[in-house]
Symmetry: C2
Subunit: 441 residues, 2 copies
């Protein structure tokens, strides 16, 4: 029988995260405090973030960072996640390429987001805070943090982007089952929300705005810290557990990827699967390609510019050196809510600048076409975000068909789409628009 699914024995599950900053010849430029125009220090971030997260954010020297025992105990509930050889998809495409995917959809909350949520909630608990706030786009991050907070006995308040709150009511319910308080953003409960609602009464929200609201709530609430689901370096750090596992699993499969693909919102699932493999490009002369699949309607890597910009819409955060479409960019209402973010994290942006990372734009209809093909071939209905990675994988696999090359392609299945079925409904009934729009709720 062909070997299809690779799971690491427990003793091989990573006990450390990989900090790629330590191996980068040119480090990412520092975040800047917009008030002082000076580089941000870890201490500057302590009021907002868990202390350990702030330290990790600025750490450019330690290659390996221990995963706390308490976090590993929770990882053990679902890790190692499977590495799967997608024989079904290969057959459907009639390609000589060897396609593998890392299946993060099997986490209890259905996506990779839990890898960082558990770490951030644990560190918040350790700091003695009682409440955590965050934003969520598609709801994957909000669900993950809601559960992580319930695990560590913290209260959780989530600002869910309004378009997603309406498109994906089940995600809101999931967060509520885990005990979280969920508010659609923009809301009237913060100054940032009020300002944007005054200017644009029908605003359907964006991750940038929801971040502003969550940050504002954290700053106004004693004993409350803020947690971010992507973009920042410590989030990508936590996600490297994906790539570290995949590296050993590819070894079990007896192959090494020529190409690694992930969808791209702020960069955390992309960095998570890529960075551990990229270290062999940086250190051992490997030539693996890394492809970020972003939505055509929010194309920061292919059409943004590299500059200092705010991480949120209202300008509460430090300025980050990033590929950006502008912090006030209002993305179209595509169903891949997790990709509706204006900028890319500092590490990924630096690597992109150096040509280490490629990027492709995927249109909404192409993403769902790819998702349906994958579902029928492999049985897993992918999240709209993950559909972008699948579409890019299919493009590469079809190039192999043309050239006759048996390249090894690995992509990250960041999550399942079981709570996004209304989007599939629209696609199957022909009513889904290609890049998303207001009517496409």
């Amino acid at each position: 029988m062909r070997h299809k699914r690779f799971i690491l024995p427990e003793e091989l599950i990573p006990t450390q995260w990989y900090n790629i900053q330590a191996d980068m010849k040119t480090k990412p430029e520092p975040m800047i405090d917009p008030r002082t125009r000076k580089p941000v220090k870890a201490e500057d971030l302590y009021p907002l973030f868990a202390t350990a997260c702030a330290d990790q954010e600025l750490n450019q020297t330690d290659r390996w960072i221990d995963i706390p025992e308490e976090v590993r105990a929770k990882y053990a509930n679902y890790r190692c996640t499977p590495l799967v050889r997608a024989y079904g998809l290969e057959k459907a495409l009639d390609t000589p390429a060897h396609i593998y995917f890392k299946d993060e959809s099997v986490s209890p909350v259905g996506s990779h987001k839990l890898n960082s949520a558990l770490a951030q909630a644990y560190y918040c608990k350790k700091d003695g805070v009682t409440n955590v706030t965050t934003e969520t786009g598609a709801g994957q991050w909000g669900a993950a943090l809601s559960y992580a907070c319930s695990v560590f006995g913290l209260e959780c308040a989530v600002y869910q982007v309004k378009i997603s709150y309406n498109q994906k009511p089940y995600r809101r319910s999931i967060m509520q089952v885990f005990g979280a308080q969920v508010t659609p953003s923009p809301s009237m409960s913060t100054r940032a929300g009020k300002d944007i609602l005054t200017a644009m009464p029908n605003c359907q929200g964006s991750l940038g705005t929801a971040i502003s609201e969550a940050v504002e709530l954290a700053e106004m609430t004693p004993g409350c810290k803020y947690a971010l689901g992507s973009v920042l370096s410590h989030v990508s750090l936590h996600q490297t557990v994906i790539g570290l596992e995949a590296e050993k699993q590819m070894e079990m499969a007896g192959e090494y990827p020529d190409t690694i693909i992930a969808c791209f919102g702020g960069g955390s699932n992309f960095g998570g699967i890529s960075f551990p493999f990229m270290r062999h490009n940086l250190l051992d002369g490997r030539k693996t390609r890394f492809i970020a699949a972003e939505p055509a309607s929010c194309p920061k890597l292919t059409h943004g510019k590299f500059s200092y910009d705010y991480g949120d819409e209202a300008g509460y955060t430090p300025m980050i050196p990033m590929y950006t479409l502008g912090h006030d960019f209002q993305p179209a209402n595509i169903h891949a809510g997790g990709l509706r973010y204006h900028g890319a994290g500092a590490i990924v942006s630096q690597l992109r600048k150096e040509g280490m990372i490629e990027a492709v734009d995927i249109r909404q209809l192409d993403s769902f076409k790819a998702g349906c093909m994958f579902a029928r071939a492999e049985g897993i209905i992918p999240a709209p975000e993950s559909c972008h990675a699948i579409a890019a994988t299919i493009q590469e696999a079809l190039k192999c068909k043309e050239s006759g090359e048996s390249k090894v392609i690995l992509f990250n299945l960041s999550g399942h789409g079981l709570v996004d079925m209304s989007a599939y409904d629209q696609y199957l009934s022909g009513s889904l628009l290609d890049t998303g729009s207001q009517e496409n709720i």
Copy 2:
């Protein structure tokens, strides 16, 4: 670190199903053809079911039945499923009991149903049929068979119980993504459907009626066979892969269950986890308890009577020796659609008659209360059906708390509830009725 999650190495994954009929001293009584009043022979079932399934149905002699290589190759996409020690739930209950669950929710379609769907679709393909019909209650079985049919290149038509079609639109979409045709039942497309709609125009359907419609379609359509998701002995046979894995995983954990619990609709997930352990009661003098958790509103094991009855509402099927509430019983509209069935399979009924199986009734509100507690403790939102098993587990664990005993309880988490969030919404908002009713859609 505490060992929490047990996964079998590939070489220990079962290659045979366990046929408990071979080890039963008193075999289940035969099915009866209502026209001839004679026992049904395998050949009588060939027109309706895949040949191999019909043979398995009547097989009372072979203890072990090989899982075809082609089915094992598909099992390999998600099996072995994890056995998990529910430390979180134990802590929440403050019980000395050791609680384990077998997590069938990680299958691509989110439930145990795929174990039999893959087998039945494969056997249908082998018989040369092109189309398969079935019924589905909550949609778990329909989703599983839709995917299994797409895997083996078969067309699939599903009659989904109307209440569930309306309560769980996402499940319909899932089946459609896999390429199935989905019809709400009762429908006007069959005589059985027409008859019941004429008598009860607002009928919200039941599994019994949907079975009648699917059987009728199969009988009227050349090249079409029928597949059933529970009740019959060959379905439970396919599900024994659950218990066979769990047996080896409990060995890895160094324990043996005192009590095994599963929710109960027609008996397939219950039989699947129970029978392999029950063989040690039958053969080796073990005293493990087996508890079926059924809904208070559809209590065939606790309030039904043992007699010959039809498997479907219209009376198309052979008569089965079963605990039954009557084949025309119309269950209340609880969200656990998979448990809304009037009867219990022949094997389970015989074992129940002999006192090998206990049963408890769970009310709808208690089931969701248990489900929310489990979700917060373990991160997985259980299917409404599985909530019944959890509620029964909690009852047993609390008895242990009272007595101070550290009993080992194993339950089957038959599926996740991510597509049932509207039910959780109702529960959390206080609008869910205790046993379900027409208004509770």
